[in-house]
Amino acid sequence: MNLDYTPEQRAFRAEVRTWMEANVPSGPLPSFDLTREGFEAHRDWERKLNEGRWGMVTWPEAYGGRGLDLIRWLIFEEEYYRAGAPVRVNQNGIFLLGPTMMEFGTDDQKARFLPRMAAGDDVWAQAWSEPGAGSDLAGVRATATRDGDEYVLNGQKIWSTRAVFADWAFGLFREPGSERHKGMSLVLFPLDAPGVTRRPIARMDGEMVFAEIFLDNVRVPVADRLGEEGQGWHVCMATAGFERGLMLRSPARYQVAASKLIALYEANKDSTPASVIERVAQGWMDADAYALTIYAMASRLAGGGTIGPEASTNKIFWSELDIELHRTALDILGDRAELMPAAPDRGDAGDWLDGHIFALAGPIYAGSNEIQRNIIAERMLGLPRG
């Protein structure tokens, strides 16, 4: 146990910091969910990252990555968030589809898709959930009917991030007549294919951050199935593991949020009861605790260990932390909390309201916290099912 960064790790941090300082756009980019223009601005940022080989840092060098170990990945993320760099429009590719394809894809698929994914040439949407399925992925009803060398896709997907403007999507489809965990396949499809319709879903504040995808006899080659036919559940669980676990939620974002909260408190000290500093301190401690725990997990993985159901504890912790950080900020803002960005007299209200709405989704998506507690109880602690 040694909590000092090595000279190499320090040098790596300096390298990232230098690159970010030189390249991170000075202002925020327009939303990638709202306009094609915003989406393309984010794609450009992905291209710039890829040029610096900072796009897919955890991927092997062969696919355009740097093959970073997890500690360096954490350092990279720390510097990325510290620099205030844009949210990754490529996120589904980096953390979900990319690693899954490396594990389950054919050589042809890897060659066709991974470099374009890394370059931002193909931006991917995920198409897992369906109306009525929610946390119950085995309840998927969209079908892939085999017709020679093609699948014919039909059905409806929902809560697809990036789907409005993305190029491709990956989703779960089942053989007609199959049930629950059986007979499902993970299929890739272009979002401009005939028969695909996308409909943005407005979030409660009017922002379009999700989409529905309707598939009406969409034909895709069998070669664009990822993994074996009927093994979609298995492939998908590997992917879900990535999402719930270490990868998607790097601690840096919460630590940056905690630092902003401290600054907000300091700036509004005179109008805030002294006790609020204890909530601020709790948020800061929890953000650090999350970072320390992820460092510990990363070290365990580096030493050949694995992450199992304890990934569910991460999900619960960060989602509750995120809400609490934002609730504290809104309480400090008081009657400024409700103001939308264009309102006068907002002062330093920043994007806490937007962040709060986003945080409210935390305990719901990527497997609701109720499901996560079941997993902890049953798979980690061995309590009986049902």
Binding site: T272, L339, M340, N369, R373
Partner: protein, 344 residues
């Protein structure tokens, strides 16, 4: 000592609630938003015809001469439907204040008749409903002024709650516009009836969660059959059950105007806000991803609850009042009611 509402109180509350629930559905709210209508004239006429606006005004001024407990259930119902029109501020706060002025320039009567007087109380950063107001009641130091809508410049301060219309008001006081001095108990009334609305909002969030949990299935059964979902909702309902009587007691004691009665209002505002917040977040959780969308009606209630929680004094400010009362005057089982305590 009687904590029950009278038959008259129950009847008027029931009538108002039925009218509001019927005329102010989420579908109505959506229609208004799509049409860009700030308020619904038909509903406002009905509110007016039912005499709700003058409920707390003296009979001499053309009102019903009733008291806060007669209005608290109506304010709760207004919260339950996330009413866009300013019934609560007008009937609960502004009209009683107008009626207390030496010379109200005739505005009490006009307001009871349906004219909107927006109130720019210093407890609030912006003036709600100023755009549809006939006049604005504004403060300049200790002085109160009534200013015509045409004599002010409004800048919209867009709220997360699209049905809440807030404005920054630029205006100039003059001798002609001055109508009196001092806000009286307007801040207490504002806080009290905001608390009542939050009780309604909390119950609405829970009712929606219950309805959704009965209908929505996961893993082959209604999610309301899962203990985790049941317990989430039950815990929110407990919060509401122990906040509502606090609001009712605060209403009954409003007229005392003492530190204990004001502390009870502060208490009511705090716990009603907490109940509304917990209920809204619980309902979002129960609704799953759907609860995050514009498409599901829940957000109307979540947004209003958040806005009201910080309006008419933040929870932090109200907590200071509670602590002030707690540390300066006797507490104990014989000191529950404000009438048992002289003010400090």
């Amino acid at each position: 000592m009687d904590f029950a509402f009278t038959d008259d109180q129950a009847a008027i509350t029931q009538a108002a609630r039925e009218m509001l629930v019927e005329t102010c559905t989420p579908t109505d709210l959506r229609r208004m938003l799509e049409a860009g209508e700030p308020s619904d004239q038909a509903r406002w006429s009905t509110i007016n015809e039912m005499g709700l606006l003058g409920i707390l005004a003296p009979e001499a001024a053309g009102g019903l001469g009733l008291a806060a407990p007669d209005f608290v259930g109506i304010a709760e119902a207004a919260g339950y439907v996330a009413l866009p029109e300013p019934l609560v501020d007008l009937a609960g706060v502004t009209i009683p204040l107008l009626a207390s002025l030496d010379d109200d320039h005739g505005w009490t009567e006009r307001a009871i008749g349906g004219a909107v007087v927006a109130i720019g109380h210093p407890a609030n950063r912006f003036v709600a409903d100023a755009d549809t107001a006939d006049a604005l009641l504004l403060g300049d130091g200790e002085d109160l002024h009534i200013v015509s809508r045409n004599a002010v410049t409004l800048t919209r301060a867009e709220s997360f709650d699209p049905l809440r219309r807030l404005f920054q008001v630029d205006w100039a006081p003059s001798d002609e516009t001055r109508v009196g001095s001092g806000w009286g108990d307007a801040a207490d009334r504002g806080a009290l009836f905001a608390a009542a609305q939050m009780i309604g909002l909390a119950q609405r969030s829970i009712d929606m969660a219950v309805a959704y949990a009965k209908e929505r299935t996961q893993f082959g059964k209604a999610i309301g059959g899962y203990q985790a979902v049941k317990h989430l909702i039950a815990s929110a309902q407990v919060k509401v059950e122990f906040a509502r009587p606090v609001v009712q007691a605060a209403a009954a004691e409003l007229a005392l105007g003492t530190l204990p009665s004001r502390a009870r209002i502060a208490h009511a505002k705090i716990v009603a806000g907490e109940a509304a917040d917990l209920a809204a977040r619980t309902s979002v959780q129960v609704h799953g991803a759907m609860g995050m969308t514009w498409e599901v009606d829940l957000h109307f209630f979540l947004k209003r609850a958040m806005a009201l929680n910080y309006a008419w004094g933040t929870p932090a400010a109200h907590r200071r009042t509670v602590i002030d009362r707690m540390t300066s005057l006797p507490t104990g089982p014989d000191k529950t009611f404000a009438s048992e305590l002289a003010d400090a």
